[in-house]
Symmetry: C2
Subunit: 409 residues, 2 copies
């Protein structure tokens, strides 16, 4: 039996992710960092906020001055002054005293809470009556309540979202250490493939995979680097692979779905210096004829030639390797799925993890996943699809109305 | 009663989206178009593929030549030749004949199907026996099976994903007409706000909102344009707003959570030439003190000053206006949510749509949403959060174990 038939399970293949090193780091301006991955824990160097602030318009006071106050039994307080926004009050508040304050204003010495302006009435310029008691800390953000000094604010491996950028801005951090975007090479192979700016002659097709794979790499936080189209020649492919590995962190060789081409890609991958074939076929559908080699500690993939198969393999397998290599630790995030009900039965072979393309349709408040059953060479089926449903290796299919989880495409 | 208290519901506010015009269009290179929005239907100018292709390695033949073939009763076929990849076969296949073909190869005249190589055995150089029958069209992609000529391949308003790029590449389309990214101005206001590169004195804080809002705009497909910090002065804010509206498609004025500042922002917005206040308060929490004006047919927002409130208002309200203005029609996509169970009771006021920040935690295969109950001025609560749960305006809260939908942050 040929090597080709010794397929590995999806789980076994994903077990190889940690064989590959994480990329290096770089410094980047905060306002350029959206979607990047933090490369070192970020520790707070002060309390946030570093002074107590009002979160409502009203009066700052000691909570104890308000105890027992109600509509029927108002308390009377002396207004000591008014706090200007952005200024440090130059007076303190004692029992029985209050200070006028706006949202965001700094509490004066002695005050521990803010009473909303709606619960008070001015008697004259210097006194108010209040109809409600407040608790200590009410309508106030205390110093250090958001973040305390010497706290890990954001840990290594976290994705930078708008809120992480906001937190860093609050600390005046203008540039941060992040992981580099991994550079991922794409080599297209096949005598029948022509560049997209050419009109393919009879029997030839345009190089679609270079475009879909480059976009998937971009979407996954990598930098795609396309090496053009290699004709079916061992020497040409060997030279291109040898060259690609020098300038990239990972390489995808696309094409070669035929048994001949696959053997050929395997021969090249195993002949590269310092290389080892790890996977020669995965028990998934579509996408079985996928090859993974470790070449000089970089993941080198032989991707299926059918465009849909290549996309599914990318989503189900390659993306996890990119996440690992780019230092992303919150793996949970990338696995969030949409719940839906299956609109019809789907058959699957036991011993194989099937990926079914589905269209999501909301009807009467229920999200339905409608399987798109089409040949894996058809790109239009991916255009129609909103997501992928994974059918477990031990399942023989799914039934109509089954609750399923959809990974968005 | 003040204008401020005439709040509108979330639904009423979202009803204003169509008041604002969609941005103009531009032409962009295909490999730069990921995440952009198609501005005109794209019609196919030919069949895809434009010739019938094999999807397996094997033999091309007329299906009728195989009828009745089985292990016990093989059929015998004459091998007419071998088809080279990327070439148009120079011979036809008649009944009783076959041609060797690889995946992706062009079917010869007369052939309508491919028999997998596994189901055949070579007898000599010119003949095979086959153990299985094939159906017409089996293991073949027919001409036009993916896309037919004159079909709308991708319609106006669709998001460009890797698969759309692949489909366009297949047709040799190297540049496409897309909607421009809307330019969205951010004006920060407040005497207490300092630029992030300054050390704030006592009572002052750094300009966090400009950073979170810019990142949210970027994430939503817009181009953020920050206009710096305006001190609490009517004239300065008026001048800055008047100038911002000239170079942008939408403006967010951030800050001004205090009643005084809010009145002040309202005065400025209503005094701008050709302006009308549409919304003065929304019945959502957090985010009630939000203002929307139509200024010269552009949406002009007075956003709440608290960082968390501003982010929630952006996600729940502003983003839908950006989607409309950038021409995005597949509104369904942006509303996909994650199903989870609530880990504890949450109280909500009737007559108000509440947005609760939650952390998602997977435990024993169940996704739990853990509410983060914290003051809306705390950015760290957004850093801890994975998503937002919306509590309906007519609900008085949610119970522990309730099934809920989480919009990812």
């Amino acid at each position: 039996m040929k090597d080709f038939f010794k397929v590995k399970t999806l789980e076994q293949v994903l077990g190889y992710t940690s064989d590959f090193p994480v990329v290096g780091t770089e410094e980047i301006a905060l306002n350029q960092s959206l979607g990047r991955i933090i490369a070192a824990d970020i520790i707070s160097d002060q309390d946030l906020p570093d002074f107590p602030r009002a979160t409502m318009d009203g009066y700052a006071m000691k909570a104890s001055s308000t105890f027992g106050a109600s509509e029927g039994n108002p308390a009377y307080l002396t207004v000591k002054g008014s706090i200007q926004m952005g200024e440090s009050p130059n007076f303190a508040v004692h029992p029985g005293e209050a200070a006028k304050i706006s949202t965001g204003g700094m509490l004066p010495q002695g005050a521990d809470s803010v009473l909303m302006v709606e619960h008070s009435e001015a008697i004259d310029d210097n006194s108010i009556e209040i109809y409600k008691s407040v608790a200590p800390g009410q309508h106030v953000i205390l110093a250090g309540e958001d973040i305390q000094r010497n706290e890990i604010m954001i840990s290594r491996g976290r994705l930078i979202r708008p809120q992480e950028i906001g937190l860093l801005a609050a600390f005046g951090i203008q540039s941060i250490k992040i992981f580099k975007r991994p550079v991922i090479g794409i080599i297209s192979t096949g005598d029948e493939i022509v560049p997209i700016d050419q009109t393919p002659g009879q029997g030839k097709i345009r190089d679609v995979n270079s475009y879909t794979l480059a976009s998937l790499i971009e979407k996954s936080g990598g930098i795609p680097l396309t090496f053009g189209i290699i004709k079916d020649s061992y020497d040409a492919l060997f030279r291109q692979c040898e060259s690609a590995i020098k300038t990239t962190d990972m390489v995808l060789v696309s094409g070669g779905s035929s048994v001949g081409m696959r053997d050929f890609t395997t021969d090249v991958l195993s002949s590269l210096p310092d290389s080892k074939i790890l996977v020669h076929g995965i028990s998934i559908s579509p996408g079985k004829p996928t090859i993974l080699a470790n070449v000089q500690n970089k993941a080198f993939w032989g991707m299926p030639g059918h465009v849909t198969s290549a996309m599914v393999v990318f989503e189900a397998v390659v993306r996890h390797f990119i996440d690992h290599v780019r230092g992303y630790l919150a793996e949970k995030i990338s696995s969030y799925k949409i719940s839906a009900r299956l609109s019809r039965n789907v058959v699957s072979a036991n011993g194989r993890t099937d990926f079914v393309r589905v269209k999501l349709i909301e009807k009467d408040g229920v999200m339905w996943a409608e399987p798109i059953l089409s040949k894996s060479g058809l790109i239009n089926s991916m255009v129609k699809a909103d997501g992928l449903v994974e059918i477990d290796i031990n399942a023989e299919g799914l039934n109509k109305d089954d609750k399923i989880q959809v990974a968005l495409l």
